[in-house]
């Protein structure tokens, strides 16, 4: 899924219309406000838009708006995904030590891809919910980056 849709973090949502076309590209949205204090993202704005779209009461984005909002996969991201594929295969066969440099390389190639960096923590003996995760998030945000970047924030900056 991350490879097919160019996902780099979760949660990621997309809207797909009746013809199987992307009506809203990769966006950050939560189904509830359980994590609002931590993420700063109010789930209601997306849910309102979603309800309106489903009921036919509100417009989806135009194809031009969807394309303008898309972040298409880069060469480095695809190489990172190949490194991840190789590392995962090695990990699943008990070669965790040999997988590690490939995980590290994947993170170097696409440091913003937390489906890889966070998604591989458990199999690497790291805590994806605790200090190990907070360390990479803090490093990322202290360097001036945003961990969750909803479309609205991206378009207003």
């Amino acid at each position: 899924m991350p490879d097919l849709y160019g996902m780099i973090n979760v949660p990621t949502i997309l809207w797909i219309d009746e013809e199987g076309r992307i009506a809203r590209p990769n966006d950050v949205a939560f189904g509830s406000n359980d994590f609002k204090e931590m993420t700063g993202i109010d789930s209601e704005a997306h849910l309102e838009r979603l309800r309106a779209w489903v009921r036919g009461e509100g417009p989806a984005m135009t194809p031009e708006e969807v394309r303008a909002a898309q972040s298409l996969p880069t060469e480095a991201e695809q190489e990172a995904r190949a490194e991840f594929t190789l590392a995962w295969w090695l990990s699943q066969r008990g070669h965790g030590d040999d997988a590690e440099p490939h995980y590290v390389r994947a993170g170097e190639l696409a440091p913003h891809d937390f489906t890889i960096r966070r998604g591989t923590m458990l199999i690497r003996g790291l805590d994806p919910m605790g200090e190990d995760f907070m360390q990479i998030v803090n490093e990322w945000t202290e360097a001036g980056n945003t961990f969750y970047r909803p479309l609205e924030a991206a378009s207003s900056s």
């Binding site: 899924m1 991350p2 490879d3 097919l4 849709y5 160019g6 996902m7 979760v10 949660p11 990621t12 949502i13 997309l14 809207w15 797909i16 219309d17 009746e18 013809e19 199987g20 076309r21 992307i22 009506a23 590209p25 189904g31 979603l50 779209w53 489903v54 194809p63 969807v66 394309r67 898309q70 298409l72 996969p73 880069t74 060469e75 991201e77 695809q78 190489e79 995904r81 190949a82 490194e83 594929t85 190789l86 295969w89 090695l90 066969r93 070669h95 040999d98 490939h102 390389r105 489906t115 966070r118 998604g119 923590m121 458990l122 994806p128 919910m129």
Partner: protein
Amino acid sequence: MSATLTLLHDGRADEIPVVNLSRPTIAEGALESMLGWELQPEGLCRGTMCVPVDQEALVREDGLDLRILADALQRPLVTDEGHAVAALGASHHDRGDVLASLEAPDFTLPDLEGNLHSLSDHRGKKVLLVAYASW
């Protein structure tokens, strides 16, 4: 002396015989059956599309040079020689072209009972696709 290389690509793992693990090759027949490309005088071809390739460098005595093939197709190739495994990723151009077409890529995944579901099963309905993780 020959060895076997496990090639991870397109969600599959294929075993291919190779002579040299540090410079793996793929048989010309496997190029079409595994990767869907053919070697033609114009280059590497799939359907009506052809990609230029340095055929002198590509075609070796023991097959087609996998690294040159990957470069020509703009697909990342990463290897672990010690475990005789390589991963051939998807081209960022191919992935980007599909997404920019706005045609949602189809996929099939199991539910908790193991029943398979495809995105295309839901054609005719609006779909909210949510990728989440419990870590």
